[in-house]
């Protein structure tokens, strides 16, 4: 059974300047145990999509439409009690900044135990402590019996993120959503955390949705990639197809912007011209057309008609260019 099925998700925020259409018609499935990456730049709607999965989009003027089915149950139709039993137990989340994700006034042991106790009321205190200790040990915190009684500020950034992961996994969730889990960390620590997530996933069998802007991180640990731009999915493919035969002009531009350790000295970087559009004032038609090198060759169609995701080779791509051009001209990797 499909673990998670998102169908035609729309998220709109009302602001004083007008409606911000953050997510427009996003659909995807996640199978049990699978790792899916959602990639995009700031404002692409990737975090809003992730937050919607647990209904964490706060604010008075939020409108969420579509269906989010977790093993067939619609998250958007759940009442507050039902959604609470999902949060942290069936679906858990890791956030970008481990310091703001932890409460500075409680020991880390308390916070891990709390996450367990909420879903397992009546667990004896001694049992809870044992569980917290085990969790700390599993995520590689040295001297857990001493560290369990310490506060978040006594830990380094990498250690804090390990604790956040321990909290997320204490209930063995079916789905783990990681929103930029390594962005705030140094590269050597990032490598440790990515390894830990992969290892924990293998152990618990959880599916993982990884939200990131870093294509390097994607290539390291995911199986499937969705590329988002201005609130829409523009390409969805296996990790190999995404990197080796990208079809959408935006994906290709993004890959070309990635800096390489093998670059020559002063080698010119390719970049996508212009800037991402404002979500209040979206371009008509394909949201990428003002920055796209191919838009003109299609004689105005990109300005009037929004392309739908469709199968191109083994990828799905939202571009008006004919299939053979998407595959032929744009293929060939980075």
């Amino acid at each position: 059974m499909t673990l998670l099925s998102v169908q035609d998700l729309h998220v709109t925020f009302g602001t004083a300047d007008g409606a911000v259409r953050a997510v427009q018609g996003v659909s995807f499935d996640v199978e049990p145990g699978e790792t899916v990456a959602i990639v995009g730049e700031s404002g692409s709607g990737k975090s809003v999509t992730a937050n919607s999965l647990l209904r964490l989009n706060f604010g008075a003027d939020v409108r969420i439409d579509g269906r989010i089915l977790l093993e067939g149950r619609d998250i958007l139709a759940m009442d507050e009690t039902q959604i609470r039993s999902v949060r942290g137990r069936e679906v858990a989340m890791i956030f970008q900044d481990p310091l703001t994700a932890l409460n500075p006034f409680y020991t880390v042991g308390h916070q891990i135990a709390e996450a367990f106790a909420i879903h397992h009321p009546g667990t004896p205190k001694r049992e809870l402590r044992k569980i917290a200790l085990e969790s700390l040990n599993k995520v590689g915190i040295p001297e857990p019996s001493k560290r369990i009684d310490q506060y978040p500020h006594e830990f380094s950034g990498g250690m804090r993120q390990r604790i956040v992961i321990a909290i997320a996994l204490v209930n063995s969730p079916k789905l783990l959503i990681a929103d930029e889990p390594t962005t705030a960390l140094d590269v050597t620590v990032q490598a440790q955390i990515l390894e830990l997530i992969a290892q924990m996933q293998a152990e618990h069998g959880s599916a993982v949705i990884l939200i990131t802007h870093d294509l390097g991180v994607v290539a390291e640990i995911t199986e499937r990639v969705m590329v988002m731009y201005a609130g829409r999915v523009v390409e969805s493919a296996s990790v190999a197809d995404t990197f080796l035969t990208p079809t959408h002009p935006y994906t290709r531009g993004l890959l070309k912007s990635v800096k390489s350790l093998d670059a020559g000295r002063h080698e010119r970087l390719e970049s996508i011209p212009g800037i991402p559009p404002s979500l209040i004032n979206l371009p008509s038609g394909c949201p990428f057309h003002p920055r796209c090198a191919y838009a003109e060759s299609l004689g105005g169609r990109c300005e009037t008609e929004t392309p739908a995701l469709h199968l191109v080779g083994s990828s799905r791509s939202a571009c008006h260019l004919p299939d053979e051009r998407l595959l032929g001209l744009l293929g060939g990797g980075v």
């Binding site: 040295p142 380094s156 050597t188 290539a219 390291e220 800096k259 000295r265």
Partner: protein, 330 residues
Amino acid sequence: MSETFILEARALRKYFPTGASKMLQRPTDLVRAVDDVSFGLRRGSTLAIVGESGCGKTTLGRLLARLIEPTAGSVVLDGVDLTAASARELLELRRDIQLVFQDPYACLNPRHSIGQSIGTPIRIQKTLDKAAEKARVRELMELVGLNPEHYNRFPHEFSGGQRQRAGIARALALQPKVIIADEPVSALDVSIQSQILNLMEDLQTSLGLSYVFVAHDLSVVRHIADEVAVMYLGKIVEIGDPESVYRRTAHPYTKALLSAVPVADPRRAAGRQRIVLTGDVPSPVNPPSGCRFRTRCPKAAERCAAEEPVLSARSGDQPSGHRVACHFPE
């Protein structure tokens, strides 16, 4: 020496007092943020300073422009000792050395128009009158790819990349010789990073600028550096031509740093061997004895605890200037 070097750091040190004791009226501990760092920046070239958070790279950048006073050592800008200059002399010298900061949101005053912000150095230094300042700012905006008609707009009306362009324009306002750029692209989106790096390269060529580029990202540095210095806990552990440092890496820390960079290619990501360092960077208040990297180093031996390695030429490598501070270089 100073013929080839536009900027030199000579045995620079910066110790920050910490844990001050009220009774003794003196600090009980010192954070050795920068500890005996020397290098030379060649005219018209880019030196990249790379390291993780807490390695002292930002403090070093601030020392170079004398935004903070060094504990010891000196900075020589085009033959003149910046660290010995009086306040009045320093004002004049600063025309030649300007900074670009990491956070394009924080470095512009939200209440000043973008044109006002870019013109600030000109007003402080009184190099031009009002009309000439305005003309110069428009010229600068054009130079960095901003529309001069947006002179009166405010920072919040610009995107991150555009704000960083404004930050660069401001740094260029006084026609400096050297620009210290502290993580100028790390707050920007990937596609915008490339635009800014290309802009900086173009400006270097057309204006003959020299850059000190502080970064934590080795792949960004690969594209722009003529020389790269890797820092760990306040010290340079490896320095040299990037070609040599990246391909014939001598220091185990540099090796680990390079292997930790995620590669945007699933074929290579699967195949390569990764050195994952254990633990965190130790506290710079009590750095390990001997080699500071030894507590995380896979090659550490007894000698590493007893004796601090000196930055010296990589064996058989004198001409390229590739130097490393390790008892057991690769």
